[in-house]
Amino acid sequence: MEYMVEVNNVYYSYRKHEQDKEHLALCGVNLKVKKGEFVVVIGHNGSGKSTLSKHINAIYLPKEGDIFVNGMNTRDISKLWEIRQTAGMVFQNPDNQIVATIVEEDVAFGPENMGIDPEEIKRRVDFALRSVKMEEYAKHAPHLLSGGQKQRVAIAGILAMKPKCIILDEPTAMLDPSGRKEVIDTIKKLNKEEGITIILITHFMEEAVDADRVVVMDDGKIVTEGTPREVFSKVELLKDLGLDVPQVTELAYELRKSGLNIRQDIITIDELVEELCRLR
């Protein structure tokens, strides 16, 4: 099994009100995510990103098509718990995801519900809190933590269930720059060191730069995908879709438009510095 997640020609629609027309939220989506891959999904609000992510741990089931998580079809009700344990989800607002009054108890909530032996739970909680660098706060009350810390506790709660894949739906939208960095660094580390497959939905293009692959959604479809370099070089397409590119990519694009002969696929500060030094 080479793929962690396989989305095969998936359609999904819903009605907001009984009398409304069906709204087609996903419209023939195909996506294969390799084991250990770090995929970022971008797209404006309403493009279908969140709907897609909620299919991956069987919160929604496709109207047409199939989704496989580590080889298990999300339609197979007997595999539901195994699927949700394999693919854990982290949401935007950390306050909605914390259930206990002590950090370590919150992290233990998942494994406790799985009926795991207390000794093992203890080990998992320690490991999970260490992984997100929150071990010092094990005995603290979650509501007194910063946004970035709370979000890392939420990630630890997922980690304690030993998932193979973590899906994060705009986990940094409510955080300040340092909180955002803490969370993104944690995600990258889990991907590199623990080999956990990551699917990250975000509006911050800078967060996509280090991904293995960027997938762009619009109107329920995947409109383009590729390495961050390939995707961000399509500045005009992204702008048409109401998306951004990193500031340096935008600057490089503007410079090219003004007639400078520089590479089209610049996504980091160092690359642009190098190009400009070459032109000098």
Binding site: K16, G43, H44, N45, G46, Q92, S146, G147, G148, E170, A173, M174, L175, D176, P177, S178, G179, H203, E206, G242, L243, D244, P246, Q247, V248, E250, L251, E254, L255, S258, L260, I269, D270, L272, V273, L276, C277, L279, R280
Partner: protein, 286 residues
């Protein structure tokens, strides 16, 4: 409507082991028609500060004057102050509650006791300012709108009070780039056309670099830095130390200068960087 803040200190849970100083002797002046960017990491005191400006919180010590009226004195008419100082909270769309967009925006003016004609005019104008088509949306349920639209309707509800000072607490959090640009464009227009004072609380250094006349930086309840964005973003190390950042182009300019370019350190926006780089490279070509 200048705002003067004098030695403002705010402590909560005083007299308990949990006592915390959220604002520590803050003194500030905000001039008429200024566009202020208020930045600082979570817990630095930004939200506590703005909640003092329309009387939602009472200082432990210190004073605030709005238009030379001391709003922290006893017996002050808070209703009047809240009409002059409009506060848009984080995620203001969570406060939408009426059946239609019209009724929701009209709620504030109606409570001011205005007549129906005046209310209608205000609603029209407020929706127009935030770029929501009055005829098309007035009878819709606010809950059927997109996230960005809901937020703009919520902001219109504050604008319909016709405040002289508009305070927005992270108005773009959670919006996509397009929704963000729309809101920021509306705020900018409002500031330029109606000359109202704007205080924008933001985590986006790029946005405040583009928009604000002056930045106020909060850290641990103190106002540790202030000045034009250009002045403030020169302090890269201090800002990073307190959990903030500077716009990405600023890092680029610093890197280029280390490699022997001689670009003005003031640069903080993409268009400024483009012009400066072109000038240097073309200047050298000649």
């Amino acid at each position: 409507m200048p705002i003067k803040i004098k030695n403002l200190t705010f402590k909560y849970m005083t007299g308990t082991p949990f006592e915390k100083t959220a604002l520590d002797n803050v003194s500030l002046e905000i001039n008429d028609g200024e566009f202020i960017g208020l930045i600082g990491h979570t817990g630095s005191g930004k939200s506590t500060l703005i909640q003092h400006l329309n009387g939602l919180l009472k200082p432990t010590s210190g004073e605030i004057y709005i238009d030379d009226v001391c709003i922290t004195a006893k017996g002050v008419d808070l209703k009047k102050i809240r009409q002059l100082v409009g506060l848009v909270f984080q995620y203001p769309e969570h406060q939408l509650f009426e059946e239609t967009v019209y009724k929701d925006v009209a709620y504030g003016p109606r409570n001011l006791g205005l007549d129906e004609k005046e209310i209608e005019e205000r609603v029209k104008k407020a929706l127009e300012v935030v770029g929501i088509n009055y005829e098309k949306y007035k009878d819709k349920s606010p809950f059927d709108l997109s996230g960005g639209q809901k937020r703009r309707v919520a902001i219109a509800g504050v604008l319909a009070m016709q405040p002289k000072v508009l305070i927005l607490d992270e108005p773009t959090a959670g919006l996509d780039p397009k929704g963000r640009d729309e809101i920021l464009y509306n705020i900018k227009r409002l500031h330029e056309e109606y000359k109202i004072t704007v205080i924008l609380v933001s985590h986006s250094m790029d946005d405040v670099a583009e928009l604000a006349d002056r930045l106020i930086v909060m850290y641990k309840g103190k106002n540790i830095l202030q000045g034009t964005p250009k002045e403030v973003f020169k302090n890269v190390e201090t800002l990073e130390k307190i959990g903030l950042a500077v716009p990405q182009v600023k890092y680029l300019v610093n890197s280029l200068n280390r490699k022997g370019f001689n670009i003005n350190e003031d640069i903080i926006t993409v268009s400024e960087a483009r012009d400066a780089i072109l000038k240097i490279l073309r200047g050298e070509e000649k």
